[in-house]
Symmetry: C2
């Protein structure tokens, strides 16, 4: 009984996501869908990424949370346009929620829109929002069994950021196992090892991201 209901929701969402995609293309915006478990470091990654790129790239952020606006406030302190979506109870963002934010941005003044999804390693990967690609963070404190246990997000993502590598001496986690299992699920996955706390690895990530934003601009 449940499966057909879910399918209808997903199909309806796909149509809205396609409309969003057309809108983003028309406005020359690169859009990232950023996903992870709660507390893996999505907002910290945004802060680091904004600091590294904001002089070259005009960035906007959509923050998705069940409730509260802490994350949007953290981003706004960087001088970046930020919109908070409160989902009420929903455990993921969908295409319609993204569309609801359109009137809040000046898209002619943006190059890159990063959408921070609700913290959840499962459901967000199922719902398109019209993004160019999905990226995910896995904190090493979550353990090295996560690719095998939650494969969908690893399969759907173009980039995996392995975060909190500063804690490696204190936790039982093999980054090699994470990488091997994640690449088994998705051989095209691009992997960066980072610490949002110390800044290690951040520049490699932001250099790559900068190239992607420019690449998209040139293609259009």
């Amino acid at each position: 009984m449940k499966i057909p209901i879910v399918r209808n929701i997903l199909e309806a969402n796909d149509r809205i996501a396609q409309e969003n995609r057309k809108f983003f293309d028309k406005n020359d915006i690169t859009v990232l869908n950023l996903m992870s478990s709660p507390g893996a470091g999505k907002t910290s990654l945004l802060e680091r990424t904004i600091d590294a790129l904001k002089k070259d790239i005009r960035i906007g952020v959509i923050e998705g949370d069940i409730q509260s606006s802490h994350d949007a406030e953290r981003i706004a302190r960087k001088g970046i346009p930020a919109v908070q979506i409160n989902t009420g109870g929903a455990c993921h963002l969908d295409g319609n929620m993204i569309r609801e934010t359109f009137s809040e941005f000046r898209f002619d003044e943006l190059d890159l829109l990063i959408v921070e999804n609700v913290g959840n390693l499962v459901c967000p990967a199922e719902f398109k929002m019209g993004e160019d690609f999905k990226i995910m963070i896995l904190s090493i404190t979550e353990g090295d069994d996560k690719p095998t246990k939650y494969p969908l997000m690893f399969r759907e993502s173009r980039v995996l950021l392995v975060n909190k590598i500063d804690l490696l001496p204190y936790v039982d986690c093999s980054i090699e196992k994470i990488k091997k299992d994640a690449l088994h699920i998705n051989p095209h996955l691009i992997i960066f090892e980072i610490s949002c706390k110390t800044g290690e690895g951040i520049q490699t990530w932001t250099d790559w991201l900068k190239g992607e934003v420019k690449l998209n601009k040139n293609t259009w």
Copy 2:
């Protein structure tokens, strides 16, 4: 359009959960629904709890995962009856999935059934399965903003286990803030601070749990 659909699913689930509850009562089983983000330490807590209680209490475990059977294998190595539920894509366990496992247990040989839910700080809290009560784990590596950002699970749980306290020197996290915010959401919440790695705090938790299982037995 979506809200009525979710309500129907939840109502249908509640009916099945009530039937499960009657079945557990008839068989004198105490049932816990164990929830957390991915990698917060649910299976490690089970291993510690089983080691501490198995000489006094007959324990069974249901392991919920999107896919794989690693966790059930870890539990089975403790000599405990364990059943793995693979949800396919679903991000939570529901009453019907639990009912499907009934034929796999000898309930006349069990006192306590612990159900490890899918790793997800959002959806599992919405679906009853006929449990006596819900318990949740929060790892300090997830950050001290989690009660405010994901209040439902804190509201629905009877017990909060704050795990990985051995990592406190290396992360920016205030356990006092977690406790204060969690108790603001749910003043009846019983909180234990533990490290499944070092064993710190485990006995306080298992002593309490042992009392709960006996208490239920005496009541029936």
